[in-house]
């Protein structure tokens, strides 16, 4: 098959797979390095090859990681889970409700809301950091959980996707039937519309989880108390000491592994969900 035409040599099966293999190696080798390096002691780290294995010290490294600074890393894990977990659940529900309202209900200001939402997608978050910080400081929210949590709930792209899902997945007849049965609009949203939008909402939730988990600028600006840090801010702070104190390297690397593993696992397990969600959402 596919051996006709001028490009047959380059699209031959071998060449196609060779290119995919190169791309996969580029993508995976740094992660393999993270895995092998987190098993090394500080001595092996600088003396063994990058991908070679030294003595197996993963458990020692993990022990050191959770013992450092009276176990502050455990706080960082908890904080990341709270910011991203609660934020994604609440944020995706807010997106779903708003996207559904824009797609299926008529209310004054609907078009304006959607236009502003689309503009909101394009606003650079680094331009918002300073005014958000100053507003938070006037509200006495700087260096609190809320200073990071609330701004990250806002997900205009999620609303855009939710509107697309609602438009595609919910026939107006179903809503009409529910209204004729006497169900209230809120009840219709929660019991009829939301289940129909489920694959889309799971996709928004997953990507918002990643977005919050990986967000760095906002916690960097808002937080000074290490006990409120998410994992990546804490690891960044430790990494800035590495050149002076090399003993931080195993901690930073093992901690990085722990920050990556849950996300990789989530995306592997929920593959079918987010693949179909992306397909139905981005292609309207």
């Amino acid at each position: 098959m596919n051996t006709t035409g001028s490009g047959s040599r380059w699209t031959s099966r071998g060449a196609v797979h060779a290119l995919l293999l190169i791309a996969s190696l580029y993508s995976l080798l740094p992660l393999v390095w993270l895995l092998t390096s987190s098993t090394k002691s500080l001595g092996d780290f600088s003396t063994t090859g990058a991908f070679a294995l030294g003595g197996f010290h993963l458990w020692d490294n993990l022990g050191d990681l959770f013992a450092e600074e009276d176990g502050v890393f455990l706080d960082w894990v908890r904080n990341s889970l709270l910011y991203a977990g609660l934020g994604a659940v609440l944020g995706s529900l807010i997106c779903a409700a708003c996207g559904y309202a824009i797609a299926k209900l008529r209310f004054p200001g609907r078009r304006l809301l959607f236009a502003v939402t689309l503009a909101g997608v394009l606003v650079p978050t680094t331009a918002l950091a300073l005014p958000l910080y100053l507003l938070a400081s006037q509200l006495r929210l700087v260096d609190t959980f809320w200073a990071v949590f609330i701004p990250l709930l806002t997900n205009p792209f999620g609303v855009y996707l939710a509107r697309a899902y609602a438009d595609a997945a919910i026939p107006d007849e179903v809503l009409e039937a529910a209204r004729i049965d006497g169900a209230g609009e809120l009840r219709i949203f929660f019991t009829v519309a939301l289940p129909m939008m489920r694959p889309g909402v799971v996709t928004i939730l997953l990507f918002q989880f990643v977005g919050i988990w990986n967000n760095f600028f906002l916690p960097l600006v808002m937080l000074t108390d290490p006990h409120l840090f998410p994992m990546n801010l804490g690891l960044f702070q430790w990494s800035s000491r590495v050149t002076q104190f090399p003993q931080y390297s195993p901690l930073v690397i093992t901690g990085s592994l722990l920050a990556v593993v849950p996300l990789v696992a989530a995306f592997l397990l929920l593959q079918r969900q987010w693949r179909s969600g992306l397909a139905s959402g981005s292609l309207k």
Partner: protein, 312 residues
């Protein structure tokens, strides 16, 4: 895809079909809409619109000590003075130059690779599509800080192998730009590849069949049939990538711990951070933020215009 040219429900409704969600039974729908859309509208107002307005306000003032300085500092309205200061600042102009050079390499390279990989995945000869696409996608889930750290170690002499393998000195003055491109291309290729691949799956199979019957080979079909069909998706990805490139912040900040070659104002976002939180010059930082937002808006508008012209 309809990000910037939304077709609303009314426009897509078949003629004669009832208007969706027309308020019934004494205006309950507007109340429900308020409850459903309200939380997001409030968030959008409080965390995007008000901050933008506040940044605009701040950018027009500067803090001066009055008279002999006994009264403490107070804000003085300076018109566009802060903007003139920022644009006249060599450090800011350097940061714009750096990010422009970075974007000129990163944007075409990353989107080009993503498109080629998506076309390869979509070609008939490929086995194990799921495995390849997942492998290339995985770096997307790695936080920017951690991506920066992994690559910083890989670039470090005596620790990573790349110092010896790369044709440039990855942590040297001229090497930082290609090193950053390598990191962010690693992070974003897979995500965009999946977006493109998903779009390619919707190209009607009979169109592809017709092209094959007309004697078009796989390359010809890819370039003349598949790519034009998903052009709107490509332009949307282009907008997001350009905006993302302008905001480059985390990766260069992480590299700063490993090399002196990245200055504290290497990108405009680093410049904003430095002016706001190290120098505490809020007026100047706000002006730089507004310039960043303005540049994003103008570039997105430009790309969307280009896309509209291409699709007639």
């Amino acid at each position: 895809m309809t990000v910037l040219a939304p077709t609303t429900a009314e426009e897509t409704r078949p003629p004669g079909a009832p208007a969706p969600g027309r308020p019934r039974r004494g205006g309950r729908a507007p109340l429900a809409a308020l409850l459903l859309a309200g939380p997001f509208a409030l968030l959008l107002l409080g965390t995007v619109l008000v901050p933008i307005g506040y940044a605009l306000y701040l950018s027009l003032f500067t803090e001066r000590l009055s008279g002999l300085g006994f009264d403490g500092p107070h804000d003085v309205f300076v018109w566009l003075g802060n903007y003139a200061d920022v644009l006249g600042d060599g450090a800011f102009r350097d940061s714009v130059g750096n990010v422009a050079g970075y974007a000129l390499v990163h944007v075409p390279l990353m989107l080009g690779i993503a498109l080629v990989l998506a076309l390869l995945l979509d070609s008939a000869t490929v086995r194990l599509r799921q495995v390849w696409s997942l492998a290339v996608f995985l770096p997307y889930v790695v936080p920017g800080v951690i991506a920066g750290l992994i690559w910083a170690y890989l670039y470090s002499p005596n620790i990573g192998p790349l110092q010896d393998l790369l044709p440039w000195d990855p942590l040297g003055g001229n090497g930082v730009l290609p090193s950053l491109v390598t990191i962010t291309t690693w992070q974003w290729t897979g995500y965009n590849m999946i977006i493109f691949y998903t779009a390619l799956r919707t190209v009607p199979r009979d169109v592809l069949e017709a092209a094959r019957v007309d004697g078009a080979g796989p390359l010809r079909t890819a370039w003349s049939v598949k790519v034009p069909t998903i052009r709107p998706t490509i332009f949307v990805a282009l907008v997001f990538t350009v905006i993302g490139s302008l905001q480059l912040f985390t990766e260069p900040l992480v590299l700063r711990s490993f090399t002196g070659s990245v200055t504290s104002t290497w990108t405009p976002s680093l410049y904003v951070y430095e002016e706001a939180f190290i120098s505490n010059d809020y007026g100047r930082a706000a002006a730089a933020s507004m310039l960043l937002a303005l540049a994003s808006a103008l570039l997105s508008a430009l790309v969307m215009r280009l896309s509209a012209r291409r699709s007639r």
